[in-house]
Amino acid sequence: MDIARVISKRSSALWAPFLILILLASLPLCAPQYTIILLTTIFMYIVITVSWTMFSGPTGYISLAPAAFFGVGVYTSALLGLVLPLPAIIGIGGLASFCLALFVGALTLRLRGTYFVMFTFGLVELLLHFVLWWEVNITGTTGRVVPTVNNTKVFYFMLIIFVILMFALYTIRGSRFGLALEAIGQNEDAAAHTGVNVTMVKVITFAISAFFMGAAGALMATRWTYIDPKIAFNPLLSFMPVLMAIFGGMGQLYGPIIGAAIFAYLEEFLITRFPYYYMLIFGTIMVIAIVYMPEGLVGLIRRLLKSSTEGRHART
């Protein structure tokens, strides 16, 4: 980790994300409302996918718990209604997920491979059915109405969550904590014997990634207006970040972002154009994508870029 090199790399590459950010931030001024709504959804997927990648990318622990963390955020928001200001609700939602992740992480991160995968998936279903039972049998009701919030406001908050997430991600990647995380992914035993408190590093990263999922959930609840356990803890949402990250390519930081953005947009595009065939088309695209782009979109782009530069070399 040559620090000088890292810094120089950053300053010259910083303008691009900044430009995009300014562009996105100014979008509500000119773009139609629905574009804002769609972008909010897309950014929700990006936030979930990137925060998933934050933990699962370097460590190689495939977590299927996103739906649980997202759902905890959603439910926090639903429980609190709008008695508190929105930023506070987002913060509490994130914090609730953070705490859950700390607990679950401390309990389960000794599991490896498929066992961890299945445990995290079980968590989603357990929470779903437990909350359902709790509401029906203890509180005697189910489902909650969440007051709606201005769409533009939701968009800006989602953008802010995204920016904070990216900032957190960059900070972690550049730090010794990030180095330890990467080491854990490559060889956990060796990392432990090199003095890294592997459990702590894993659990904390797991919890940080859960924080962002929970925050996104708390925010999105205001868009859904009505919440019940089956809606909040939708198991499909656990698979989405995995699929999106693989689709985009996990080799690079921007892979999951592109993957999530295109995946989410494609789905919306197909569902509105071909309501009766969209699953067929979507499924076919997924199968073709995985066969022809084993390293995801990023891999494909790289290959294209490589062949084009090679072509240029050949010409000169």
């Binding site: 010794r176 990467e182 014997h193 890294v196």
Partner: protein, 245 residues
């Protein structure tokens, strides 16, 4: 005063005894060799010392303090570092990053980035790996990877270093270099326990040898005592050794 002291170390895997009631002590500045056929429990013993596996019974003292029961990272931070039989470098990290991790998280965590970087570079230099400091670990040769593992272990600033089969798979030239390296590490005041199959290396560098068989310590002594021990020849070295000696 012994740096490391183990009493009645025992470990079972399922119903099988892996290490059975082994006592051992290592004095400061020593190089101790650990030999025995495969499955004798050598690596298991290392795993017990470094905290990778919990003990079934027995205690391990390091500099008079109990370390059995501690987590691997805690033991490492107290000054016990190790390498692995099957290489466990971080394959997609550069050699420098591999070593840097040791500096960051070893005996003295919390040192500044600049200091850690300087130290890591020094260690790479010492191990003769400066030239490949930016190379990804997976692209290094086998011998260099083994060195890198030792470098990473050294970066944690240990007082006791456990080396597990550093010579296996190296050619004689590389073996000679490795032997030299082990001696120079010792010169820096680090106590060493090494598991080795390459007899030549063991005989050359070790002052004392412990022989394990079926999880039990069957012999202990100077290299000369070991090669002439009846028990060792019978269970381990075989007739050929007898003929040769």
């Amino acid at each position: 005063m012994p740096v490391l002291e183990g009493k009645g170390l025992t470990k079972y895997f399922g119903g099988l005894v892996a290490v059975s009631n082994v006592d051992l002590h290592v004095d400061e500045g020593e190089i101790v060799g650990l030999i025995g056929p495969n499955g004798a429990g050598k690596t298991t013993l290392f795993n017990l010392i470094s905290g990778a596996l919990p003990l079934r019974s027995g205690t391990i003292l390091f500099k008079g303090q109990k370390i059995s029961g501690l987590k691997p990272y805690e033991i490492c931070r107290r000054g016990v570092a190790r390498t692995f039989q099957s290489i466990k470098v971080f394959p997609d990290m550069s050699a420098l990053q591999n070593v840097l991790l040791g500096s960051y998280f070893g005996v003295s965590p919390g040192m500044s980035s600049m200091e850690a970087l300087r130290e890591a570079k020094e260690i790479l230099e010492f191990m003769g790996l400066s030239a490949s400091s930016a190379t990804r670990a997976r692209d290094l040769t086998l011998a260099s990877q083994k060195r890198l593992e030792v470098a990473r272990a050294l970066a944690t600033k240990p007082q006791l270093l456990l080396i597990d089969e550093m010579m296996a798979g190296l050619n004689p030239t590389e073996v000679a270099q490795a032997i030299e390296l082990v001696s120079s590490i010792r010169k820096n005041g680090i106590t060493i326990i090494m598991i080795e199959h390459v007899m030549k290396a063991i005989m050359n560098v070790c002052e004392r040898i412990i022989v394990l068989h079926h999880g039990q310590k069957i012999a202990e002594g100077t290299p000369q005592e070991i090669v002439s021990s009846e028990t060792v020849i019978k269970v381990y070295l075989g007739e050929r050794a007898r003929a040769a000696s």
